[in-house]
Structures are given as structure tokens and as C-alpha cells.
């Protein structure tokens, strides 16, 4: 028995040893069949609480939203439609003078002096009658031609005028015919004598001949003087009549740049024209016409007219150097058709304005400084108060979802809005190829993503509570292929103010549009593709 037991135990030990080498199954890993890995991923994409500033930012980042004390919002477009400095308006041309006199002089020993007096008449346009001119740039060139054999000294002076505070004088040393000299005119003050001829300067030449007793037989003396590159610092007198080129300036209304169709009725639009005049001279302007122009399809235009447009319009001018006078008028729906003009959703307003200086002639002394300007500024003020109907906006963006979306089974987009604006909105995203051919659309069928909040009673029309809406859409199957070929997306929004645009609304600064966009995607991978 004991032997049996020992044998049994030995067998057990042997079996244990034998089993140690037992390979039950063998797997050829090169025959592994594809294994699917189908993760589902979900993530929020956008979570924004958008104010009017955020909404307008894309279109009007350079424009101004203004809030009044009641938190009511205005959209303001300001443009300088004309701005000109006096030095650009009044050019001073180069001036020249040339005189020849007899010079009868024989042999001389020692100095001999004689004088000439001439008139230097400035040629200036527009009937200008200058009393004085202060120069900030310019060059005087003076030359003497003669058959005089002796050296001579010529001193030219302009009585009453100064150069850098001293009496105006320039000296020329004559050594032979054609001797010349130059002098800078910066800092020169020229005083004109208009008693006989306009814009006349009296010029005096004092000639001192230094005779040495040698033979001489002079017969003539010629004096030539040029003033080149003149630029004034200050002009005083009568500056004449000039036309002001103020045409073809526009105010861009960029809020409408992306508009396709629809109407917006601004209840209280205002167009301000302000002129800031630093020129000391009367100006009369004529507003030839103003026109609201829609350049988007379908093109349209409305000429802005009404009693509010002053024609002609005499611009105020300053009476002291350095001051600026202001002249203004404004148009609203009571004195013009500005409201009708804006209803066509124009992209710009064109103003054709002409003007002239000293319309009544030489009745008042003028003055201008070189840097003094006249500017015309136009300000379009659009209070967010009115209605909109069928207002369609569209914008295009480049995008790529990737060349290979074969690992995407479907994508679900979920859009949530919580809207405090009294605006209904339907938004569609079109997926397009590089040639703008529409391949697919996000919402199929289209669904209204934005529900208008309900405005309160007049006159404030305030919204008290927002309205929420959730829209979701799943793109799967063959539609995924459309995303692969998408190179652009076109975002189109159809907007109506509350109740189909039939009820007046106002927009306040505290209105918010909460937007949440989330996405969920079912992916599909095959282990054989993970090589």
C-alpha cells in the first residue's frame, strides 16, 4: 500500500512536470482580422454670450457703437469727406524780374556810386491782392550782366520788407558780366504796395564801381532776379477767389456690406455735416447732391433731398489766426428723405459738394496760415430703433474639414441660442467647393435657430426675458463625402425683427445672445488601418 501511494505521488509529480510544457493554443498574429474601434467623441465648440458689440465686430470693427444714458445703442459712422490745408489750396508760383539800363562810364580811378529803382510785380492768380507774405522757404537768385571793366559791389534792398528781422538786403559782388549770387528766403517778410499795381515790391539797387584807372568803356547794366520755390508761412490781404474741389467723397456704411436683400427701417436716422474752418476767408459751398447708393445686388440709389439741406451754404470763418470756426447742419426724416434713402440698405452715401472762396469779392481782408485747414466731416447716426424685414446677410469663409473623413461615421451638431434681441433668425451654413458650388447644407431641412425675444411696450420697447432654442443636425452617410470636398462655407442669415418686422423695436446695450455650439462624432477605425 505504501508503495502504491508512493507511486501515485510520483505520477502526480511527473504529470506536473509534463504539463509544464503544455501549449494549449497557438496564435498566428499575422492572421489577425481587422478589429473595429468605434469611439464616440463629444465636445463643446463654442460658448459665447454675445453683445451687440460682438455681433457687429465682424463687420464694423472700425465703427462706433454709442450708448446713451438709457443704455440705448446708436451706430455712428463718421468720415472726413473733405480736408485741405491752405498751402495746398493756395500755391505761390516762382516769380522773376529783369531790367536793363544804360551805363555810360569812362576811365575811373577810385570808387564811383550810382542807383537804380525798379518794381517787382508778383504774378498771383485768382485776383489776389497780398498785403504781406511771410515765407518759410524759397531762394532768391540775383545776377548782373554788363560790359563794365571794373569790379563793382551791388546792394539790393526791398524797402519795408525784412529778412530774418533785418531790412531786406542782398549784396552781389560784380567781377564781370554774369556775376550772380543767391540768398535763402526762409524767414523773409515781403510787404507789398498795392497802391498802383497789385502785389508790387519796390526794389532798389545801389552800384559801387571800384575804378583802377585802366581803360573802360561801359555802355549798359542788366539786373535779373528770380524767386524760386516759394512757400508761405502766412498770407494776409485779399486771397482771391478759388474753387474748392470737394466732390466724390463718400460715407461707407459697412453694416450693409454683407447684406443681400431685405429692408431695414431706421426710425430716427440722422446725417450731420460739420465744417471746421481754419482759413480766415469767406467760403460759400453748394451741395450739388447727396445720394445713398446700394452697390450689392440689386443695385439701387436714392438722392437725398429736403429742406434741411442749405443751398448755398456760407461757411463761418475765423477772425483771428489759430482759431477754427464751425458750421453745421443735419438731416433727419423731418427735413429730408434720409430715412427713405437708408431703407435701401446702402453701402455708401455720396456727397457732391462744390465751394468757392470770397464769393462777394474783395470786401474783407483774408488771412491764412500754411497749416490752417478746412475739413468737412459727415456723421451718420443710426439709433437702433426701427424694424427689419427679410434682411439677409451672407459671408464666406475658407475652411477644410480634411481630405479624408472615411473614419467619420456621422457628426452631430447641436446649436443652442438664448436670445434677448428682438430678432428672429434663420441661419444656414452651405458647404461649397472651391468654385462656390454648393455641395451640402448644414441644416437640412432648414430650421429657425434664433427666436425673437418679445419687446415691451412703447416708447422703450425693452425686452425683459430671452428666448431659447435648440437646433441639432446629424450629417452622416454619403453627406460626409460632401464635407471632404468642402473648401468654403457660406453662412447665410435671414433676419426679421419681432413679429415679422412689423413692430418697432429698440436695441439696448445689455441685450445678449448666448450661443452654444456642440458637436458629437461617431468615429470608426479598423485595426488594419493603424499600420
Amino acid at each position: 500500500m505504501k508503495l502504491k501511494t508512493m507511486l501515485a505521488a510520483g505520477f502526480l509529480a511527473l504529470a506536473t512536470f509534463f504539463m509544464a510544457s503544455c501549449v494549449k493554443e497557438e496564435f498566428d498574429m499575422d492572421t489577425v482580422t481587422a478589429t473595429n474601434w468605434d469611439p464616440n467623441v463629444a465636445a463643446p465648440l463654442i460658448n459665447s454670450s454675445l453683445s451687440l458689440w460682438d455681433v457687429m465686430n465682424d463687420y464694423d470693427s472700425t465703427d462706433l457703437l454709442v450708448v446713451d444714458s438709457n443704455q440705448f445703442v446708436y451706430l455712428v459712422y463718421e468720415d472726413t469727406v473733405y480736408s485741405e490745408s491752405a498751402e495746398n489750396l493756395i500755391p505761390v508760383a516762382d516769380q522773376s524780374m529783369n531790367y536793363t539800363d544804360n551805363l555810360v562810364l569812362g576811365t575811373v580811378s577810385g570808387d564811383y556810386t550810382f542807383d537804380y529803382d525798379y518794381n517787382f510785380d508778383f504774378a498771383l492768380g485768382g485776383g489776389m491782392e497780398l498785403d504781406s507774405m511771410i515765407l518759410k522757404a524759397g531762394t532768391l537768385s540775383m545776377a548782373m550782366n554788363s560790359d563794365l571793366s571794373y569790379p563793382a559791389t551791388i546792394e539790393m534792398t526791398i524797402p519795408g520788407s525784412t529778412l530774418n528781422g533785418a531790412p531786406f538786403a542782398v549784396t552781389l559782388n560784380y567781377s564781370g558780366s554774369g556775376s550772380s549770387t543767391t540768398a535763402p528766403l526762409s524767414g523773409g517778410r515781403l510787404v507789398f504796395d498795392n497802391s498802383v499795381v497789385d502785389n508790387r515790391l519796390a526794389v532798389h539797387f545801389k552800384v559801387t564801381v571800384h575804378g583802377n584807372g585802366s581803360a573802360n568803356n561801359a555802355t549798359f547794366a542788366n539786373f535779373n532776379m528770380n524767386l524760386n520755390g516759394l512757400a508761405f508761412k502766412f498770407l494776409y490781404g485779399y486771397l482771391g477767389q478759388f474753387n474748392l474741389s470737394m466732390n466724390n467723397d463718400t460715407i461707407g456704411i459697412r453694416v450693409y456690406n454683407n447684406n443681400l436683400t431685405g429692408t431695414v427701417n431706421w426710425e430716427d436716422p440722422r446725417l450731420y455735416i460739420n465744417v471746421f474752418n481754419g482759413w480766415g476767408l469767406p467760403i460759400r459751398t453748394t451741395i450739388d447732391y447727396m445720394e445713398a447708393i446700394r452697390t450689392n445686388n440689386p443695385p439701387a440709389s436714392v438722392i437725398i433731398s429736403g429742406a434741411g439741406i442749405p443751398n448755398p451754404w456760407d461757411i463761418n470763418y475765423p477772425t483771428a489766426v489759430g482759431s477754427v470756426s464751425t458750421s453745421s447742419f443735419f438731416l433727419d426724416k423731418n427735413n429730408s428723405n434720409i430715412d427713405a434713402a437708408l431703407n435701401i440698405t446702402p453701402q455708401r452715401i455720396l456727397a457732391l459738394v462744390s465751394g468757392a472762396t470770397n464769393p462777394n469779392g474783395n470786401v474783407v481782408k483774408n488771412f491764412v496760415e500754411d497749416v490752417s485747414r478746412m475739413a468737412v466731416e459727415a456723421k451718420l447716426e443710426l439709433p437702433f430703433y426701427g424694424t427689419a424685414n427679410g434682411f439677409v446677410m451672407q459671408d464666406t469663409f475658407d475652411i477644410s474639414f480634411g481630405e479624408d473623413l472615411s473614419h467619420v461615421d456621422w457628426i452631430m451638431f447641436k446649436l443652442y441660442t438664448n436670445n434677448m434681441f428682438p430678432v428672429d433668425g434663420t441661419i444656414q451654413v452651405y458647404f461649397c467647393d472651391s468654385l462656390n458650388n454648393r455641395l451640402d447644407s448644414l441644416l437640412n431641412p432648414v430650421d429657425q435657430a434664433l427666436l425673437s425675444a418679445v419687446p415691451g411696450p412703447a416708447p422703450d420697447y425693452k425686452v425683459t426675458s430671452p428666448v431659447a432654442k435648440t437646433v441639432s443636425q446629424t450629417i452622416g452617410g454619403s453627406r460626409i463625402g460632401n464635407l471632404e470636398n468642402t473648401k468654403k462655407i457660406v453662412v447665410t442669415a435671414w433676419l426679421d425683427t419681432y413679429n415679422g418686422g412689423t413692430q418697432l423695436v429698440k436695441i439696448y446695450s445689455y441685450y445678449k445672445l448666448d450661443v452654444r455650439l456642440s458637436a458629437q462624432a461617431q468615429l470608426k477605425f479598423n485595426s488594419s488601418e493603424l499600420e
Binding site: 494549449k24 498566428d28 499575422d30 492572421t31 463629444a42 459665447s48 458689440w53 447641436k414
Partner: protein, 486 residues
């Protein structure tokens, strides 16, 4: 790539399977009273032999490991077309919320024990103990495979990677007392010297995706303590590990206690209960703590604020987002001492003497760690072939595995006793072999294919070996010895 994935899965299931779930001793030993080391499973278990001296360094060597997650057989199978299939769903289905991979090794340096007048038993043992346990969450695997979109409104515990590594030296003094013919009591007091430790107190990293807007919320709360793990952070080139200092460490002292009792119900039935490893170690030498600066750190990503994005620009926006995340989830490093508890076990067992040579027993073990109870159950049959050869077979349920068959024997040749035990003999003996062709280049740059093989146990969720050599004396029991097993 797919081979890489497959190989990874096979390795995880196989190699991890080589590691034992619980830092614990084998269950099979408790019925083999001829082996003096059975005393360690209950200090009231007075060994059969009156004297024993363990062979220094060889008296008891235990190595074990386990993985209670998935097996290779859960993941890889052959279909009807004779192709290999990878079944991730099956793998996930075999996981629990928290899955453990663990490893333990105990080396008894010196031990001896002796009885005094059959009423008292004295034992001493010096043992080097080391174990490591890593847990990983099922949620992370599910998150990776199914995606967050399939797990909406669930808080995914994706960061619960807990690491517990403990190496300490134990000096144990045991005393057992036969109170009367029915009761025996025993206790062991242990002085512990910690060598190294990594202890993950908290790694609570969660991810929650809500279903309405898919907002994703992440939370993080981390506290990891470590000791003598300088090289976790010390990347300086001149750092050198001082092995001599490490071995002689006495700074990290601790205390541990084992308590046990047996009750002899009648001549055939005995009950036993023990509480093991009650105690702690204070880690003072070179501690390091990694802790979340913001323990309530939470971040919810709910989408990009367009107006903020446009205002800041993409670069600034992303930088701001990164700064926010750092503020919330940044981990701080401190160097404070800390204390860890031992992993306490409770053993409840029953013994039935069928004949003088045939004994059966049952053991219910409850292991406490990670604030949970981890139970195991074992049935054993022991056959004595005289006092020379004792053979035991066991069936155990452990590591969520119901097919663990153990075997052990002890052989006494004169005073020399040899023993070898395992709780799972079949696991490591039945293998699967995985082969594939791998492209290689020879020395001339020509490519060729070489067959690669990986052979791993088919179902190796729990495995251990325990063997040793003692010198034993006075092993023939007197007929009136209590308790009743001999």
C-alpha cells in the same frame, strides 16, 4: 501597429498576470503544520515539530503575483476562419472598476522556534519583505475605447492609478500559549524598518461629459508619498544610489502585530481566527510628497468664447487657457514625513480531520487595502505519508478567478525539511503561444523575415511559489497534543 497593440495586450495580460493580486502569503501553507512557517498565517498555530531552525537565507522564499483584470484568453481568440480575433469588448467586460496588478517577494533571513513544555511556543524570524501593487481603472480603458461621447453623464475615474510599493525588514517575536484543551492563543510583535516606499494616497482624476452641451469637467486631487526614491526627481548626473546606506536604513521604524486563536470544537473539528499585520511604518528618511496645490481643482471646458478669442487672438487665448489649467492642476512637491499602514488580513479557517492521515480545511481570507475588503477563499486536502512526506492540494477562489488549483509538499529527510508550495499549479503550466513575422535587416541591409514568438500562461491571474529548507526536530507528535491537527 496592430501587432504592437496585440503584443501589448498579451504582455499586459500575461506579464501582469505573473504578479499577484494581494500582498499576501500563500493560502496553502496554513494546513501544513509540519512546515514551521505555517505559524505565520496564525500565531496560534503551534508547529508540529518541537524545534526548528531555518536554513539561513533559504528557510522561506516566497514570490507571487497576480492580476485581477483580463487574461490573454479574454482578448485574443481564433475564429471559425482560423483567423485571430481581438476582442476589446470582452477585455473590458472582464475588468472591474479597479483592477490590480501586484507582486510580492519575501525572503526569510533567519528563523527559529521551539516549544516549552508543550504549553508555550517561542518563535523568531527576520524577514525581508517587498511588495508592489498598481491599480488601474476600468473607466480609462472604456474612455479610450468607447470615447467620451458614449459615456455621457458618467463621471469617469480615469486617473485612479494607485501605486503601492513597500520594502521593509521585519523582526518578529512570536509567542503561543496553549490555554487549555480547547483554546490556544498566539501573538507576534514585529519591529519594522522601512527601506523604500511609494504610496499613492489619492489620485482622483475624473472626467465628466454632460449630455446637453457636452461640457467636459475634469477634476484632479493627487497625493503621492514616497521615500528613498530620490531618482524620481533627481535627474542630476552626479546622483549615485548609495546601496550600503539603503540596506542599513533604520530611520523608518514601524510596529506590527499578529494575533491568533484556535478553538478545538471536538476531536475532528477545529476553528481558527487570526488578525495579521496590524501596524504601521513611519517614513522619515528622505521623504517626498507630490500633492495637488489645489485639492479641489476642477476645470470645465464648455467651448470657446468667440468674443474673448477674437479680442485676445489665438496665441494669447491658448496661453491663457494653459495658464488656467496649470493654476488648477499644478502639483506641488513637499518633503514631509508620513506614515503608512500595513495591509491587514483576517484569516478565518476550519479544519476537519477525516482520518489520522487525511485532513481537509477551509480558509476565508479578508485582505484590507484601498479602503476595501478583498476576500479570498480556499479549500484544502492534505495527505500525510508518514512524517516524511506531506502533500496538499487546494482549490481557491481569488483574484476574481475561480480556477486556481494549488499543490504543495514537504519532504523530511532526517532533520532536513524541504518544502515547495503553490496556490495555482495549472495557471503557469498551460500556455498560449503567439507567433508573427517581423521584418529585419541583415548586416548588408537586405531585409528578411524572422518568426517571433511569445509564449505566456493562458490563464495566469494568480500565481505564487513558496519554498524553503528547515532543520526540524521532535516532529513526531505525542498523542495528546493540542490542538488536534496532529
Amino acid at each position: 501597429m496592430k501587432k504592437t497593440i496585440i503584443t501589448f495586450l498579451v504582455f499586459v495580460s500575461g506579464i501582469a498576470g505573473a504578479l499577484q493580486l494581494n500582498a499576501q502569503n500563500d493560502m496553502i501553507i496554513q494546513g501544513m503544520r509540519i512546515i514551521p512557517q505555517s505559524y505565520y498565517s496564525n500565531p496560534a498555530f503551534i508547529p508540529q515539530c518541537r524545534w526548528h531552525i531555518g536554513m539561513p537565507m533559504l528557510s522561506s522564499f516566497y514570490i507571487g503575483g497576480g492580476h485581477n483584470g483580463f487574461n490573454a484568453k479574454n482578448v485574443i481568440s481564433v475564429n471559425a476562419l482560423d483567423s485571430v480575433e481581438l476582442d476589446i469588448e470582452s477585455m473590458i467586460g472582464s475588468l472591474k472598476n479597479h483592477n490590480y496588478v501586484s507582486f510580492e517577494m519575501n525572503e526569510e533571513l533567519l528563523s527559529f522556534g521551539f516549544k516549552i513544555k508543550d504549553k508555550h511556543y517561542i518563535n523568531f524570524a527576520a524577514t525581508e519583505r517587498a511588495f508592489a501593487r498598481i491599480s488601474y481603472p476600468k473607466d480609462l480603458i472604456e474612455f479610450a475605447f468607447y470615447g467620451n461621447g458614449a459615456l455621457l453623464d458618467q463621471t469617469l475615474d480615469i486617473g485612479n492609478f494607485r501605486v503601492s510599493e513597500n520594502h521593509y525588514r521585519e523582526f518578529a517575536f512570536g509567542y503561543s500559549y496553549v490555554y487549555d484543551k480547547t483554546w490556544t492563543f498566539g501573538a507576534r510583535a514585529k519591529i519594522l524598518f522601512g527601506m523604500s516606499n511609494v504610496n499613492t494616497r489619492r489620485t482622483d482624476v475624473t472626467l465628466h461629459t454632460e449630455s446637453e452641451f457636452f461640457d467636459i469637467t475634469a477634476t484632479s486631487d493627487i497625493l503621492v508619498n514616497s521615500n528613498e526614491i530620490d531618482n524620481m526627481t533627481d535627474t542630476s548626473e552626479d546622483y549615485e544610489f548609495d546601496a550600503g546606506r539603503y540596506i542599513g536604513l533604520t530611520s523608518n521604524m514601524g510596529l506590527g502585530f499578529d494575533f491568533g486563536a484556535t478553538y478545538k470544537f471536538d476531536d475532528k473539528i477545529t476553528f481558527a481566527l487570526s488578525v495579521l499585520d496590524l501596524g504601521y511604518i513611519s517614513w522619515k528618511s528622505n521623504p517626498m510628497n507630490l500633492t495637488s496645490k489645489n485639492s479641489d481643482g476642477s476645470f470645465t471646458y464648455d467651448g470657446v468664447d468667440i468674443s474673448e478669442f477674437m479680442e485676445m487672438g489665438a496665441d494669447s487665448f491658448m496661453q491663457n487657457l494653459a495658464d488656467t489649467l496649470i493654476d488648477i492642476f499644478e502639483v506641488d512637491t513637499t518633503y514631509d514625513k508620513y506614515r503608512t499602514s500595513l495591509n491587514t488580513r483576517i484569516h478565518a479557517s476550519a479544519f476537519y480531520k477525516v482520518t489520522q492521515k487525511d485532513h481537509i480545511s477551509a480558509l476565508l481570507r479578508m485582505h484590507f487595502y484601498d479602503r476595501k475588503v478583498h476576500p479570498s477563499f480556499s479549500l484544502a486536502y492534505m495527505r500525510k505519508f508518514g512524517d516524511i512526506w506531506h502533500v496538499t492540494g487546494t482549490y481557491s477562489i481569488t483574484n476574481r478567478n475561480y480556477a486556481n488549483f494549488g499543490i504543495g509538499w514537504s519532504l523530511k529527510l532526517g532533520p532536513a525539511q524541504f518544502y515547495i508550495l503553490t496556490d495555482n499549479i495549472f495557471g503557469p503550466l498551460i500556455w498560449n503561444r503567439y507567433t508573427w513575422l517581423e521584418e529585419k535587416e541583415d548586416e548588408f541591409g537586405a531585409t528578411y523575415f524572422e518568426t517571433q514568438k511569445l509564449t505566456i500562461p493562458r490563464n495566469w491571474k494568480y500565481m505564487n511559489f513558496h519554498f524553503g529548507m528547515n532543520f526540524v526536530f521532535g516532529c513526531k507528535p505525542p498523542k495528546d497534543l493540542v490542538p488536534i491537527l496532529e
